[in-house]
C-alpha cells in the first residue's frame, strides 16, 4: 500500500512536470515577451515573472488534480458530483423552481424599487432587461439548436434583421412599435426561410459554418450599404414604444399624467422590462405548445436521428425550415425590442461573438431545456456585468468556460429531457440526456 502511494506520488510529480514543461513552451513567448510599438519599430518587453507564475500554476494544478482526482481511488469530484442535482432530484425541484422564478421575474421591479429606491434600482432593472433579452434569444435559438438539433452560428443575423427592420420602418414610414413588431418578426422569419432553404440539406457542422457565413455576410452588408443602413454610423433616433398610445413623457397626455402619477424616468424602464418579459414568456409558451404538436415532435425526432425520420416519411426539409423560421421570428422580435430600447443600432452590436454568447447560453444551459436557458442567461450575462472591472479577461474566461463545461458535462448543466408526450402523466419523468444516444445524419 505504501509502495503504491509512493508510485502515485512519483507518477503525479512526473506528470505535473511534463505539464509544466508544455506550459513553458506555450507561454514563454506569448506571455514572456510582449511586443510593444516603439520608436523605429517594435521592441520587446520581457515578463519572465508572469511566465514563472503561469508555469507554477499549471504544475501545482496538475499535481493536485493527479493526486486527488485523476489517479485517486476516491476522486474529490465524486463528492462534488453528489452535490450536483441528479436528474431525479432535479425533476422534483424543477416543479418548484419554475413558478418561483416566474413570480420573482414578475415582482422584480417593485422589489428592487422597494429596497433600493427609484434611483438605485435603475441599473439593476437595466441589467434585468438585458438578461431577459438574452433569455428570449436563448429560447428562440433553443427551438433551432435544442429541439431541432441544427447548429446555427449566425443567429445574430436575425436579431439584426429585426432591429434594422424596426428602425427603418419606424424612421421611413413612421410606423409605431406595435405595428413594426409583428412586421419585424415576419421579415426575420422570411429571411430565415430564404437562408434556410438552400442550406438545410447540409449536415450538422457544414450547416454551422454556412450559417456563420450568412451571419457575417449580413453584417458586412449592413456595414457597407451606407445609403440604406447608415453604415458603421448606424441608425439613431429610433422612436420609443408607447403604452397603448401614451408616451412616456413629462406633461399633458403622458403616461404619468394619465394615471395621475408623478413623472419619473423609471416608468419607461419598468415598462420596457415588462415588455421584454412578456415577449420572452410568449416565446416560451409558444415553444412549449409547439413541442406537443406534430411539428414539434418531428423536430425532436429529427434531432435524435435524421435518417430514421426520413424513413418514417417526415419531410426533413420542411421540418427544419419551420424550426429555422420560427427561431428566426423570435430573434426578430428580440431585435426590434433591442432597437427600441437602445434608440441606436449599428453593425457593432451584431458580431459573431454575440451569436457565440447566445449559443453558449443554450448549450451550457442544457440543449432543449427551457429552465436551463434562464439559469445560464442569468449566470452568464449577470456574471459579465458583475465582473465588469475585469473587462479584458471576461471573454477569455468565457471561452475557457465553454470548453471546460462542455468537457465536464457535454449535455449542458441541466441535461434532463422531459418527454413531450407520455401515456401515463404521473410516470413521465425526465430522462437524463446522458442516456440518450444521438443518431448521425
Amino acid at each position: 500500500m505504501a509502495a503504491q502511494k509512493q508510485d502515485l506520488l512519483a507518477g503525479s510529480v512526473k506528470d505535473a512536470a511534463v505539464g509544466a514543461l508544455v506550459a513553458f513552451g506555450l507561454f514563454a513567448m506569448m506571455i514572456g515577451m510582449k511586443t510593444e510599438v516603439d520608436v523605429g519599430g517594435l521592441a520587446i518587453e520581457y515578463r519572465w515573472g508572469a511566465v514563472a507564475m503561469a508555469v507554477a500554476v499549471v504544475f501545482v494544478g496538475r499535481l493536485l488534480l493527479n493526486l486527488f482526482v485523476w489517479k485517486s481511488e476516491k476522486p474529490v469530484t465524486g463528492l462534488l458530483g453528489s452535490l450536483m442535482p441528479t436528474q431525479s432530484s432535479f425533476s422534483k425541484v424543477s416543479h418548484l423552481v419554475t413558478p418561483l422564478l416566474f413570480v420573482l421575474a414578475v415582482v422584480l421591479p417593485f422589489l428592487l424599487m422597494y429596497f433600493l429606491g427609484t434611483r438605485g434600482s435603475r441599473q439593476y432593472l437595466d441589467l434585468a432587461i438585458l438578461v431577459t433579452t438574452y433569455v428570449m434569444l436563448g429560447w428562440g435559438l433553443n427551438i433551432v439548436v435544442g429541439l431541432a438539433g441544427l447548429l446555427d452560428l449566425g443567429y445574430v443575423a436575425f436579431y439584426a434583421v429585426g432591429a434594422y427592420s424596426y428602425a427603418l420602418l419606424a424612421q421611413n414610414f413612421g410606423f409605431s412599435f406595435w405595428i413594426c413588431l409583428p412586421l419585424a418578426g415576419i421579415l426575420s422569419a422570411f429571411w430565415g426561410i430564404i437562408l434556410g432553404f438552400p442550406v438545410l440539406r447540409l449536415r450538422g457542422d457544414y450547416l454551422a459554418i454556412v450559417t456563420l457565413a450568412f451571419g457575417e455576410i449580413i453584417r458586412v452588408v449592413l456595414l457597407n450599404w451606407y445609403e440604406f443602413t447608415g453604415g458603421p454610423d448606424g441608425l439613431s433616433g429610433i422612436p420609443r414604444p408607447s403604452f397603448f398610445g401614451l408616451e412616456f413623457e413629462r406633461g399633458e397626455g403622458g403616461f404619468a399624467d394619465f394615471f395621475g402619477l408623478d413623472y419619473s424616468s423609471i416608468h419607461r424602464i419598468v415598462f420596457l422590462y415588462y415588455l421584454i418579459l412578456i415577449l420572452a414568456l410568449i416565446t416560451n409558451i409558444v415553444t412549449m405548445r409547439l413541442r406537443k404538436l406534430p411539428v414539434g415532435r418531428a423536430w425532436e425526432a429529427l434531432r435524435e436521428d435524421e435518417i430514421a425520420c426520413r424513413s418514417l416519411g417526415i419531410n426533413t426539409t420542411h421540418t427544419k425550415l419551420t424550426a429555422f423560421a420560427i427561431g428566426a421570428m423570435f430573434g426578430g422580435f428580440a431585435g426590434s425590442f433591442f432597437a427600441t430600447r437602445q434608440g441606436f443600432i449599428s453593425p457593432e452590436s451584431f458580431t459573431f461573438i454575440e451569436s457565440a454568447v447566445i449559443l453558449a447560453i443554450v448549450v451550457l444551459g442544457g440543449l432543449g431545456s427551457q429552465v436551463g436557458v434562464v439559469i445560464a442567461a442569468v449566470v452568464m450575462i449577470g456574471g459579465f456585468e458583475f465582473f465588469r472591472q475585469f473587462e479584458e479577461y471576461r471573454m477569455l474566461v468565457f471561452g475557457l468556460l465553454m470548453v471546460v463545461i462542455m468537457v465536464w458535462k457535454p449535455r449542458g448543466l441541466i441535461s434532463t429531457r422531459v418527454p413531450s408526450i407520455a401515456l401515463d402523466r404521473r410516470k413521465a419523468k425526465g430522462i437524463s440526456a446522458d442516456m440518450v444516444q444521438e443518431g448521425h445524419g
Binding site: V22, M30, M33, L42, D205, Y206, M402
Partner: protein, 311 residues
Amino acid sequence: MDYFIQQLINGVTLGSIYGLIAIGYTMVYGIIGMINFAHGDIFMVGAFIALIVVIALGITAATPLLLLILALVLVLVIAMALTAVWGWTVERIAYRPLRGSFRLAPLITAIGASIALQNFVQISQGARNKPLQPLISGNFKLWETVTPEGSFVVQISYMQILIIVTTLALMVGFTMLINKTSLGRAQRACEQDRKMASLLGVNVDRTISLTFVMGAALAAVAGLMFLLYYGVIDFYIGFLAGVKAFTAAVLGGIGSLPGAMLGGLLIGLIETFWSGYFSLEYKDVAAFSILAIVLIFMPEGLLGKPEVEKV
C-alpha cells in the same frame, strides 16, 4: 492584360498562404471528421510567435543576405515547433475528451477554444496591431508596357517568390510524408477506419495528435508568410483567414491534400480578382458566398470523395 497578370501573381501568393492553412483543416477533418474551428487562431498564434522571434533576434532589412536567410530559417523552425505545441494542447484539452461524445460537442469546444485563444493573445500581446518593417524588399521586373497614358510594370517581388517556392516545397514534402512514411500510412488507416486501425496496432490517439501538430506547424509557416507579406498582424487575423482557408478546404474537397492546395489557390485568386475588378469592401462577402454556394451545390468539393451516409 498586364493588370490581369499582375493580379494573377498576387492571387497565387495569397492563395499559397490560404492553402497552407487549409491543409490543417482538411487533415483534421479527414481523420476525425470535425471542423477545427480554432485552427485560424492557431495560425494567428503562429504569426505572433514568428513576430516575437524576429524582433528578439533583431532581424532587420539591413541584415546581410546570408545571415538573413539563416535567421529566417531559424524563425521558421522555432515558430513551427512552438505553434505545434499550441495545436497539440488545444487537441488534448478541448477535443480528445469529447471523442465519441455527441456530434456537436467538439464544434462547440472548438468555438470556445477559438474565443479563448483570441482573447489570450489580446491580453498578453495587446490589442493594437503590430507593424513590422519589410525584411525582404525588391522585386523582379517581368516586363513593362508603355501606353500613351503611362507605363505599367508587371513585377513579382522576392517575397512573393519566397512564399510560392516555400509552399511548393512544403506541399511536395507533405505529400511524400503522407504517401511514403509509416506515419502517413497510419494516418490514412485512421482516416478509413479508426477501430480497425487500432486493432492492427496503430496508436490512434498519437496519430490524431500528430495530425494536429502537423496542421499547426503548417499554419505557423503560413503565419510567418502572412507577417512578412503584409507586414502587420493583430489578434483578430485568425478569424477571417480561418474562414477563408476553411472555404478553400471545402472547395477543394475536404479530406484531400491536393484539394486543399487547389482550393486555396482558387480562393486567393477569386479574392484578388474580386477586389481588383469589383469592390474592395465586399471581398469578404465574396469568400463567404463561395463557401455557401460550394457547400450547397457540390458539398464534396472539386477533388473530394462523396460522403456515404451510413445508419
